[in-house]
Symmetry: C2
Subunit: 483 residues, 2 copies
């Protein structure tokens, strides 16, 4: 098992294998795909005592957090197995022939979602299990019936290889085709794979710069393909005057816990907190006890974080808030900076930016109209949060404005911690993602790797089983427009 | 009412208005949007005696065809009004808080599809009603709650203005916000609008070259947006040996009717017909009576068609089939060319190409294995058709291969004529479209202009109505994963 950069020759073999595996896997019934996902979940749970320490060595994340992340990862595999059993994700539609259809006689047309083909998934650094080798996109793609080429993240190569080994063995034992999941290493291999015509979709979680470069590769192919990039977000939190007055100290404590969680290395870290000018919350934020400094994931993230933070502090409108010692240490101590809402509005490009690591920017506002103005000035966000009281007059308009630019709007909760559920939405307009109509977390994520195909006038024996009148799979069917 | 090119200053005003109209329209309840669509349908039906002759003057299409197309267009508006009444398109999902959720306590999360914002629609030349001012994408976008900026096609500017006037009046009378639908004219205005940050999605029906240029504009924006381009397709037809033997002469007659329909100016025109070498179908195709020459839509399409056809005839492996007189006349007489399946396989880029106008390429195959080989060699297609017998051993594998590359697979029917239904799929991998996961015809098209938003922990009065437990709109809700 090597984690050296994949050679061009090896990459060609891997892509050819992925194409064959995709064809074979698409023919495996949903129940077989579900069983294979469950087998992988069981195998990874069984390997936890090997995996969690290895992840800790490579990422410096705490064992408890990593064990929880692995649990989330295997839960996700089992949840998608349930989704396959239900079959509603196929969106099966049957329109019987109708000579009386108002626009003219209607032929028999039936439509179902089918797998896109081999998918290239770029693993993230900050979730070595949940957004890596067997993470959300791999799980969705395999569930959808696609093969996966996984570009391993250089931050945890040994863990990637180990998870890959366990997963591949479990898939093989479950009867999945050889090469259904293959790993590649190295920037060049990733880019070359994305440009290859055998790859039919890309998925990525990481930085704006890295994700945009890959989006551009996918979009500039002779045959452009869907590219689902989850890039960056500042996840602003809006504290209303009433909430600050009613429970400012609780909000301070919860905010500090949220922005420092995992040393601030979450794409959903609350990066900006808007509080009333003159509120006691400022003194509270200044004095609040912060967790101890913790090492960041890797040297590139560490240096990038320090550069972002020092750039912010050089801004005329920004100061430190509270203890500043150790903010540039190794590891860096959690930090806070402070500015005003009017400064955010005057220079959104300079101040409303992601700073990936253990810091956040507090912005004071004079009137709640400034909250609305900041909401209007936002780029696309993964999340936006209101800390408010039910009687807040500003809340309805604020919710409406935030929903225009965010994938998820929270009320009196915190954006870190993205539950895997049926209704979850992890996405948003650019730069939160490159695909605002899609999600990378939750069961709705499966549709990103599916495409609709209609069948017109086919005899029953040539139709996909999900579209037959006798419905042998027992899937939900929308017949003549009615479910 | 001017149809002169939109000036940069006017475009700025139009985009600002579109942004405001989008905000207002998104707040109009679905029932109000449905009523407005129905009003437009009624108004257009009422204006048919004015519209159809005007369309005929500008496009040279026959009055009967145009009247049918207008009927289709107004039917589509009413069908989308029904879709709004049903509410299933919202994909409303409610996950109640669950402390026992296996990956850890689950918060209350609710998800619904919301409008993307102002949409720019580029009208097509060949469907002056159904894919133009009030065509499928405009209908979908308005139904979804988006405002529309419509780039009129230069092939029918007066009709565009007239339809726009009737539609805008009907929308206004129905209480829709001013500027909900606005027309722009000219290539530069279209490109500038597509690059503008106020436009949140683009939709296009037209040529590969034109569509790709616009896709590149959308993808290279600082904030890339979804671009739904429907570009080109050769729509191959595979006639099995058994079908040729059983009903070759019927297939010949139906094929000639289909490839010459509307002077071959359909994106679903069957452009390649695969028949057994030595079949009597060849003599039949050669001798079959073809419709009279008919003028093409405009000079650009006419000259493009002649260039494609002469390029094809210059190919070493291509000959004329049957009468060739008048093929390059004005108007051009319907033509057929002939080659072999092995030539298609040897030079797919030279021979499997769209030739937009009244001609098609017949390709003879020696064995049915060659049918499978051609199916494997295809680029993305809007449609692929099999003329077969139920006993055909080649059929299952052929269906499977065609479904990998086509949006719609037909059996013993013809691809021209795309019914607007619940199960319709008009799309396919590139170059058929730039968005293989989407459709531009049928009720499923509404989702291209919607994006999911999740709400976490919101009190009932701040939630969208579709997500409330008391379900005041009566829409289908998926609660804890169950519909």
């Amino acid at each position: 098992m090597t984690t050296a950069d994949t050679t061009p020759g090896d990459l060609q073999r891997i892509l050819a294998t992925a194409e064959g595996a995709s064809t074979a896997w698409a023919l495996v019934p949903a129940a077989g795909r579900a069983a294979a996902l469950t087998s992988v979940a069981d195998a990874l749970d069984g390997a936890a005592t090997e995996m969690v320490p290895l992840a800790g060595e490579e990422t410096f994340l705490a064992a408890g957090r990593l064990a929880g992340e692995l649990k989330r990862t295997t839960f996700q595999l089992r949840l998608f197995a349930e989704l396959l059993a239900d079959g509603g994700y196929l969106d099966a539609r049957i329109d019987h022939a109708d000579p009386g259809w108002p626009m003219g006689p209607r032929p028999d047309i039936r439509r179902v979602l089918e797998p896109l083909g081999p998918v290239l998934v770029f693993a993230a650094s900050n979730f070595p299990f949940a957004f890596s080798v067997m993470g959300g996109d791999t799980c969705s793609a395999l569930a959808a019936g696609c093969s996966v080429v996984l570009k391993a993240h250089p931050g945890h190569p040994r863990l990637s290889a180990a998870v890959g080994r366990v997963a591949v063995e479990a898939l093989r034992a479950a009867g999945a085709p050889d090469g259904l999941l293959q790993l590649v290493y190295g920037t060049r291999a990733g880019r070359d794979a994305l440009a290859d015509p055998r790859i039919k979709a890309g998925a990525f979680t990481g930085s704006i710069a890295g994700g945009r470069a890959l989006f551009d590769v996918a979009a500039s192919r002779p045959d452009p393909i869907p590219f689902y990039g989850e890039l960056g977000s500042v996840n602003p939190v809006f504290v209303t005057e009433a909430a600050a007055a009613a429970r400012g100290s609780d909000i301070v404590a919860e905010f500090v816990a949220s922005y420092t969680l995992g040393a601030g290395q979450f794409c959903t870290k609350p990066g900006i907190l808007l509080v009333p000018a003159g509120s006691e919350m400022l003194a509270g934020l200044s004095a609040a006890e912060r967790p101890a400094a913790a090492p960041l994931l890797n040297e590139r993230i560490h240096s990038g974080y320090l550069a972002s933070l020092s750039g912010l502090l050089e801004h005329d409108a920004v100061d430190s808030l509270g203890a500043a010692e150790g903010a540039f240490g190794a590891p860096p101590a959690p930090a806070l900076t402070v500015t005003t809402a009017s400064a955010l509005l005057a220079d959104p490009e300079g101040l409303i930016i992601e700073c990936f690591g253990p810091s956040a920017l507090v912005a004071t506002y004079r009137t709640e109209d400034e909250l609305l103005a900041v909401a209007r000035a936002l780029d696309g966000q993964l999340t936006a949060t209101i800390q408010g009281e039910e009687s807040d007059a500003v809340a309805p308009e604020l919710v409406r404005l935030l929903a225009k630019n965010a994938g998820r709007v929270l009320w009196n909760q915190w954006p870190t911690g993205v539950s895997v559920t049926y209704a979850q939405q992890h996405g948003g307009p650019y730069p939160a993602t490159t695909a605002p109509t899609s999600t990378s977390v939750g069961t709705a994520g499966i549709t990103r790797f599916l495409r609709p195909v209609a069948y017109q006038g086919l005899p029953a024996h040539l139709l996909p089983e999900a579209l037959r009148d006798d419905n042998p799979l027992g899937v939900p069917q929308r017949v003549n427009g009615r479910l």
